[in-house]
Subunit: 343 residues, 2 copies
Amino acid sequence: MDGQKVRNMEEFAALSGISRPTLSKYFHDPDSVRNSTREKIELALSEHDYRPNIFAINQNRRTTNNIGIVVPFLADPFFAEIARNLEQRCIAAGYAPMLFSAHGDPALECEILDSLRQQKPAGVLLAPLGRASDRKHVEKFVADVPTVVFDNNLPDMGSSFVGMDNTQSMRMLVEYLCASGSPPNFFEMRVAVNPNVNRRRNAYIAAMEALGHTPEIIRVDGDGWEFEEIGRQGGLTAFATGRFTSDTILCSNDRLAIGLLSAAFTSDIKVGRGPNARLRIAGHDDHPFSRFTCPSLTTVSQDYASMSDKSLEILMQMIDSEHQAQSQKDFLFDGILTKRASA
Amino acid sequence: MDGQKVRNMEEFAALSGISRPTLSKYFHDPDSVRNSTREKIELALSEHDYRPNIFAINQNRRTTNNIGIVVPFLADPFFAEIARNLEQRCIAAGYAPMLFSAHGDPALECEILDSLRQQKPAGVLLAPLGRASDRKHVEKFVADVPTVVFDNNLPDMGSSFVGMDNTQSMRMLVEYLCASGSPPNFFEMRVAVNPNVNRRRNAYIAAMEALGHTPEIIRVDGDGWEFEEIGRQGGLTAFATGRFTSDTILCSNDRLAIGLLSAAFTSDIKVGRGPNARLRIAGHDDHPFSRFTCPSLTTVSQDYASMSDKSLEILMQMIDSEHQAQSQKDFLFDGILTKRASA
DNA sequence: CCCTAGATTTTACGCGCGTTAAAATAAATG
DNA sequence: CATTTATTTTAACGCGCGTAAAATCTAGGG
């Protein structure tokens, strides 16, 4: 390729000896032109390295090649990991992912959706903030743009959802903990950041009662996304005031559990399933760091890969069928019990 | 505002009674029109909610309102946190951040830069992969687009750099560790992922020698970005084979230290500065999770806020002065010794 | 060799906004 | 009130590409 800059498709048409409309077809779908002309184009392409102007393209197409990925808090490694999975799958599917984080701020979430809308994305993968989300705003967006909601559903919104079956996973955890030791207390934040949290609590209660045990819930104060710190502070006071009624604590999520582990360590309470351990702790989500805590954290894994695949699969269906009978469905994945050293 | 969709600026001009060129000026800079007309426009805006088509705008402007943020691995909470800082500051400065992660893949890094270039961003904040980066590719990009490199410099590239002073921080750590106990071994990965790693090792050596101690470096195998796992595996074998010559281990970064902590726990080696602890471990970077490890990790903090501010400040200067005498400078920040329980 | 379906070229218009120059108007000045 | 100065309007072109219609060409089948 040479250094001469090709200004536009017109110029490249002259250089390659192919007409502009044909080039336009080619760039939209290389397989839509005859083999011989494709070869000519690609030859010229290798000599002049021209790329069509993306803004001019997008101005004239009804929809772009972008897929928006919106998560509530990207600095949470859990979402970072999901985002990574989704991004790579988008790329593999020939789309250009655009990643956004609401940073825990509902107003920012709205702004992101607004700016995303005018970007005319082919589709959007949205993990909403949850309780804090502006429902109406999200609803409007979902109605206009092909969207798959994931991780955390806002019910009755008319969109498909991909997430995990919290009821199944919590029951599984409770049953395991009961079978291997004392029935667990449930450790959570007082303010439920999203519907998943409520589902998990309810599933805990149901599972405990089904086994003939009395549920016991410890709620800690704190707002925001600093779950570890909240779990740590809550744990410290809970230990100090003897609020736990069991030697087994099931946490609403791994980040809280990580904080609780820290509190236990500070309080000199040995955690694990060994004979001289005084406490068992379990979490939920298989946070990327859970395998490196001391002791490593027993938890429920989400199958990132399958869930990402499913999300994109559904989104692509929506894109292809152009809003046609979206058949709005929920896809719930089973969690995988991941036994480690903490319980 | 009503539901009627305003198709374009022409239509909105008719509705608002303001001519299109004036509207164009207004949307570019609301303060560039007379107060009375601005009020008229904003009144009409509140009634019809029209937003200019972003693609048409960007096609005709030489540069957009976007600032690209590129990090090597977003699933690393360290970069997630930096990205969060940078994003919020971009927004505050009136820009629209676009976040990209190379996911540890040099080819992807190149693609990101290529697609970023045709996005005509106002500027780019780039943390390169490091050793794996395609230097020439990055160099070309930096020459074309106003760019501030951060976290991890590729020297002699003609761009400004904002990062921390690894020499200062390692010396500080070494001095602290020596003053409070035995001189440390240095624990790192065999393959240096980026120049920072080399600087840290050299700084360790220099600081040790300055204090009259013999440097001792333990290198562990492993490639990729799973630092915790690498640290853990390397730690396990090092403990098993007795490769450490000191009871104090200084790790090249926090993630490695987190893995080493996990290995120590598994190996039943108590870590900390208490009387019955057998090992001290320190890290570098103040990873978001370092305060929740068991024991909490002694490390060097980077001042995310100041570094983000500085990066954007320099970038804005470059944008304003339009490539004019970039005065390419490096801005190194001192680390802050953060003493916790592990050393 | 002719024929025909399918591919390509020609021609021309449209997308929504940036931008400019000249003309018209409004505000500020004395 | 006349004049200067700052804004706005009018009119028109350009940006780079999508796309449609008609004309022309190509390849494969008979």
